[in-house]
Every structure is written in structure tokens, then in C-alpha cells.
């Protein structure tokens, strides 16, 4: 790892050279009153002054709907053609928050837990992540409680920490990061001894993961799930904005004798998610589905995949129509 300094002007030039290299660049854009990642061509399009994008960056490596393969029936024969990962363009994600970048690991852990998910991994290979450390946070942020921090570099190829002069500390973290630097090496100057921590938001931890984990191990039959989830209306907003939620559905899109198999987002909060054809539903009540969501992230994943399934981005709390606040609920479990 190498640390450099990049000036405000240098950053603009570098951005241009990334665009010029033909890579797709996604960055937060403020439109219709919401900030979300969009394809950009100019640095001026990139949003400033916001806490968090509404949606996570997950869709870059796990699209909302993607074709796994296509098929065609022809006089009794079936011709299959797999989706070609080579068609995925080189992609750069600009101005990703550390909590989003940290989401790649748990996401990959799920996709690859038994066998390697070719498609997801191909997206990862083609994607470079330029994260920006956080100078601001709000009431919903709690990355520091889930092994993260406003300057966490996990999942990033380069991390920039913006300085008061508009320039930034550039931490070049991976070969992919180095390749991006190589697009315009001169703008990366020698580091000036700036202290990164000084420019990060102070966000004290709100609970201890170990404590929560221990409590959860005994909480399966607790009444807390029902109490907390009474107002949950069972939509999928929390899961769809989450950087680590990976529940998916497999669907067929058939037109006559042609078709394609599609993987698309799903959510464990939906009643239909676990409904059997027989009519039996192992997670019949919303409280059971809420329990699944919390246990999956804070108990099953740490236990089985050695990674916590939450990065503390707080999006689910912000998106919830009925104020199901994950921080509030986890804190209360930890305190029980």
C-alpha cells in the first residue's frame, strides 16, 4: 500500500483520464431530491453534501435483474447459451462510502459460500472501487459498531480522504488501484504527512458485536422479535437498499420457444419468500421474518461465514416507512 497526495485540480484531471480510458464510471448524483449512483461523464455531476445514497452500491456487482443464460427450443432440441461475463464492461465506482465498500465482502461470502458464483465474481473482477472516507454521519450511521469505521479501507481499491484545501489523501490499496493511478501518475504527489484520522467523523461505537452475538445465540424464542416487528408492514425496502442483503429469486422469461433465466432481487421480509406450494410457510409471521433478518446478519453470517452481515450504513433505518430502526433494535437486544 502506498499513500499519496492528490490536489483538487489533480483529482479533476485524473477523473477525466478515467472517463477517457473508456471505463464506465458510476458516482453519486443528486436528482429528484435523492442521491444515488448513476453513470456519469463529468465530475460536476457528482453530488456533494449528502450523508448517504438512498441505495447501496450493491447493484454494481449484483444487478437487480440479470440474465444467467438464454435458451431456445428448436424441434425438440434445446440450445443453451450462458451469459458471457466478458460482456461486462470495466467499471469504476467513484465516491463510494467505506460502509458500502465493506459490503462487498459479506456479499461475496454469500455468493461463494458453497460454490463460486461465476457471474458475481466476474462483476467483482471488472469493478474498481474508489472510496471516499466519511467526514459526516447522521443518527442512523453505526459503522464503528460493526467492525467498520469512517476511514475503513476494506473493499476499496483506492481511498481518498478529502482535505480542507480540496485535495485528498490517496491510499492506493490494491493492484487495481495502482492501475487506476497509472492512468495519470503525475497527479499523485508525495504525501504531505496529513493525518487521515483528523478528517474523519467521530462516531463512537453504540454496541458490542460480541455482546450482541452472544445475546442472539439465546434469543431465538425471545418475545423481542414480536415486540419489535409489530409495526413492520413486510415490504422489502430494507433489503433492497442494504449493501449486503443477497436474497434472490430465479425466474423464467419465456417468449414462445425462446427464453432466458433471470436472477432478481428478493427479500426475506416478504411473506411469499418462504411460502411452500402446499400452503405451509415456515416463516408464517412477520416476527419470524424479522428474526431471520437480524439473526442472519448478526449471528448466522458471523458464525458460518466469519463476516458480519451488516456494515452499519443505516440505509434500512432511513428507508423504513414505519421507522424500524436497526440501531435502536440491536442496541436494545444488546442491553437485554
Amino acid at each position: 500500500m502506498e499513500t499519496k497526495y492528490i490536489s483538487q485540480g489533480g483529482m479533476a484531471q485524473w477523473f477525466e483520464s478515467i472517463i477517457a480510458s473508456g471505463k464506465r464510471v458510476y458516482a453519486p448524483v443528486n436528482s429528484r431530491g435523492q442521491v444515488d449512483f448513476k453513470l456519469v461523464k463529468n465530475l460536476s455531476e457528482v453530488a456533494d453534501d449528502y450523508i448517504q445514497t438512498t441505495q447501496s452500491i450493491k447493484a454494481s456487482v449484483y444487478p437487480k435483474a440479470e440474465v444467467l443464460f438464454t435458451y431456445e427450443k428448436d424441434h425438440g432440441k434445446v440450445n443453451l447459451s450462458d451469459f458471457d461475463p466478458e460482456t461486462i464492461p470495466e467499471t469504476v465506482l467513484w465516491k463510494v462510502h467505506p460502509c458500502d465498500a465493506a459490503g462487498f465482502k459479506p456479499l461475496s461470502a454469500i455468493f461463494n459460500w458453497d460454490s463460486a458464483d461465476k457471474l458475481h465474481n466476474a462483476h467483482l473482477v471488472k469493478t474498481s472501487v474508489i472510496s471516499f472516507s466519511c467526514a459526516k454521519a447522521d443518527q442512523s450511521c453505526f459503522c464503528t459498531s460493526v467492525n467498520g469505521s469512517p476511514g475503513n479501507t476494506a473493499g476499496s481499491d483506492i481511498q481518498l480522504t478529502v482535505l480542507p484545501d480540496g485535495g485528498a489523501i490517496a491510499e492506493i490499496l490494491t493492484p487495481k488501484g495502482e492501475a487506476l493511478v497509472a492512468l495519470l501518475p503525475p497527479v499523485f504527489e508525495a504525501e504531505r504527512g496529513d493525518k487521515k484520522e483528523q478528517y474523519l467523523v467521530d462516531l463512537p461505537a453504540r454496541f458490542s458485536l460480541e455482546e450482541v452475538n452472544a445475546k442472539l445465540n439465546k434469543a431465538f424464542n425471545s418475545t423481542v422479535w414480536k415486540e419489535q416487528s409489530e409495526r413492520c408492514i413486510g415490504c422489502g425496502a430494507c433489503a433492497f437498499v442494504c449493501p449486503t442483503c443477497a436474497c434472490f429469486d430465479i425466474q423464467e422469461d419465456v417468449h414462445g420457444s425462446k427464453g432466458r433465466r433471470i436472477r432478481c432481487w428478493d427479500a426475506c421480509g416478504f411473506a411469499l419468500f418462504t411460502l411452500h406450494t402446499s400452503g405451509h410457510n415456515p416463516r408464517e409471521h412477520q416476527s419470524q421474518r424479522w428474526r431471520q433478518r437480524i439473526l442472519h446478519k448478526f449471528s448466522y453470517m458471523p458464525d458460518r461465514l466469519s463476516v458480519v452481515g451488516c456494515t452499519g450504513c443505516g440505509r434500512c433505518s432511513r428507508a423504513c416507512p414505519v421507522d424500524m430502526n436497526i440501531l435502536e433494535h440491536i442496541t436494545s437486544i444488546a442491553k437485554q
Binding site: 435523492q34 444515488d36 435483474a65 415490504c235 425496502a237 425466474q251 432478481c264 432481487w265 416507512p321 414505519v322
Partner: protein, 266 residues
């Protein structure tokens, strides 16, 4: 406030109801509260910020159980409750409706007629936000409307928060979950998102009370409540009904008039 809390505590203590659905302070704004004993009634609040439509909970059987229960209902919730009565989803014996009127007085309703009479004094008007966006849309050409809505629809990721937040979307199996045939693709795409929202609007004809819960719930900020609101504003005069003031029986879509408009029919 005190009167409401006292009354709720009394109702729960007397065993007149087993549950009171109301509001408490939340982390951002008031949120739904489920009072099952008189102690928790101290958390109850009821003011102008309490607009979440609580009627969405009254059809959830696992939540309300078999006993009688009560709801502290602002006007939007009252309208939805009326519609739910019409659609055979509520029974007067099971539900006690509480509200605080404009004079700060606690009011209690049991029958459809009582609620209907009370609701009749409130006019349904566009708020500032609705007026702003709708007047923009109303000024668009058809092509501009198509672009506008396709842009909006491209953000929808089918979390179905709109459906979940709507008190009138109480089907146990929604049409989007019907897969023989698969009317609406389960994956998000601009056209199938639009199909879903057109479908939702069509299912709301003569039913929508313009509470705005769907738009409020949308995590990606699509003004979907305005689709149903505009539909209702346009159709109510034509079909001869007052939105949010349903007749006790029937529905504007499943009834008809001999002289319904048909200039568009060749």
C-alpha cells in the same frame, strides 16, 4: 393527549379492548404503537404529525387477534376504515375507533355511519407537494408524461413498500405473486414497474382515499401516490362518488350508469 391516554388505559384495564393501535414518538417522526396494557398507554401521542395510515394494521389477523381492539385514527385512517367496512374486511363489533377532533375533544365511533358523518366535514384537498408535482405533470404533453414516468419507473425496484403501506392492499396473494400466468414480471424493469403501478391504480379505482401512504413509503421517492390521487380526482366526479366517503355498499368500478361516457368508443 391526557384524555386519550386515560381513555386508552381505561379501555385496556376494563378489558373492553385487548389492543389499541396508536402512535408513539419515533426516531424521525411519530410511528405506530401497539398498546396491549395500560402502562404502555403513557407513550401514546396524537397530533398533526401523526399521519401514518394505521388502517394498514387492522386487517392483519395475526396482529389484531380475535378480540375487540381500538385504533386512534387521524382522518386518513378513518377514510380507509370506512372503505374496509365496505369491502367486508372489518366488523363493527370488533373495532372501536378513537380520534381527537379539531377542538381537541376525544371522539369515539363504533358504526360506519358515525365515522362517515364525522369524515364528511373534512374536504380532501391537494397539499403543497401534490399541487406542485401534479400541476407540473398536468402541464406536460403526452410524450413528456411518458418520459417523466419512465424516468421515475426506472428507479422502482419492486420492494412493494407501496403495496405494504396501503391499507386497501390486503390481498393474501397479490396479483404480482400470481404466476399462472405471470401477469407482472417479478423482476424490476421500467415497463413491468409501470404495469404494476397502472395495475395498482386500476385496483384503486373507486377505493383510493388519497392518504398518500404509498408515496410516503416509497424508499426511492417515486411520487406514486399521485398516480392514484390523480386517477381518483379525475374519475370521482365522472363516476359520481366522493373519495374517502364510500357508500356502504358497492364500488364505483363494479357499478355503472347507462349514460357513462363513451365518446371514445367508435
Amino acid at each position: 393527549m391526557k384524555k386519550l391516554r386515560d381513555r386508552v388505559a381505561a379501555l385496556l384495564d376494563e378489558g373492553a379492548v385487548s389492543l389499541v393501535i396508536g402512535y408513539e414518538e419515533g426516531t424521525k417522526r411519530p410511528r405506530p404503537l401497539f398498546c396491549r396494557n395500560s402502562e404502555s398507554s403513557g407513550k401514546l401521542i396524537f397530533d398533526s404529525r401523526c399521519f401514518h395510515n394505521l388502517a394498514v394494521y387492522v386487517t392483519k389477523k395475526e396482529l389484531v387477534g380475535k378480540e375487540r381492539f381500538a385504533v386512534t385514527a387521524p382522518i386518513s385512517t378513518l377514510r380507509s376504515i370506512l372503505q374496509l367496512y365496505v369491502e367486508n374486511q372489518l366488523s363493527e363489533e370488533k373495532l372501536l375507533v378513537l380520534t381527537v377532533d379539531l377542538n381537541g375533544e376525544l371522539r369515539e365511533f363504533v358504526t360506519f355511519e358515525e365515522i362517515s358523518a364525522y369524515v364528511a366535514q373534512f374536504e380532501m384537498k391537494r397539499g403543497e407537494r401534490e399541487q406542485e408535482i401534479l400541476s407540473k405533470i398536468e402541464g406536460m404533453t403526452r410524450e413528456e408524461r411518458w418520459k417523466f414516468w419512465m424516468g421515475e419507473m426506472s428507479h422502482c425496484f419492486k420492494c412493494y413498500a407501496c403495496r405494504s403501506a396501503c391499507p386497501l392492499c390486503y390481498c393474501t396473494k397479490c396479483v404480482v405473486e400470481v404466476n399462472r400466468p405471470q401477469w407482472i414480471n417479478p423482476w424490476p424493469s421500467p415497463i413491468s414497474n409501470m404495469e404494476w403501478h397502472v395495475n395498482r391504480a386500476m385496483h384503486m379505482v373507486g377505493r383510493c382515499t388519497a392518504c398518500g401512504a404509498c408515496g410516503d413509503a416509497c424508499p426511492v421517492g417515486i411520487p406514486i401516490d399521485l398516480i392514484t390521487r390523480k386517477m381518483m380526482e379525475d374519475l370521482a366526479p365522472e363516476f359520481g362518488y366522493i373519495p374517502g366517503q364510500p357508500a356502504k355498499q358497492g364500488n364505483a368500478l363494479s357499478s355503472w350508469k347507462l349514460d357513462d361516457r363513451e365518446q371514445f368508443i367508435r
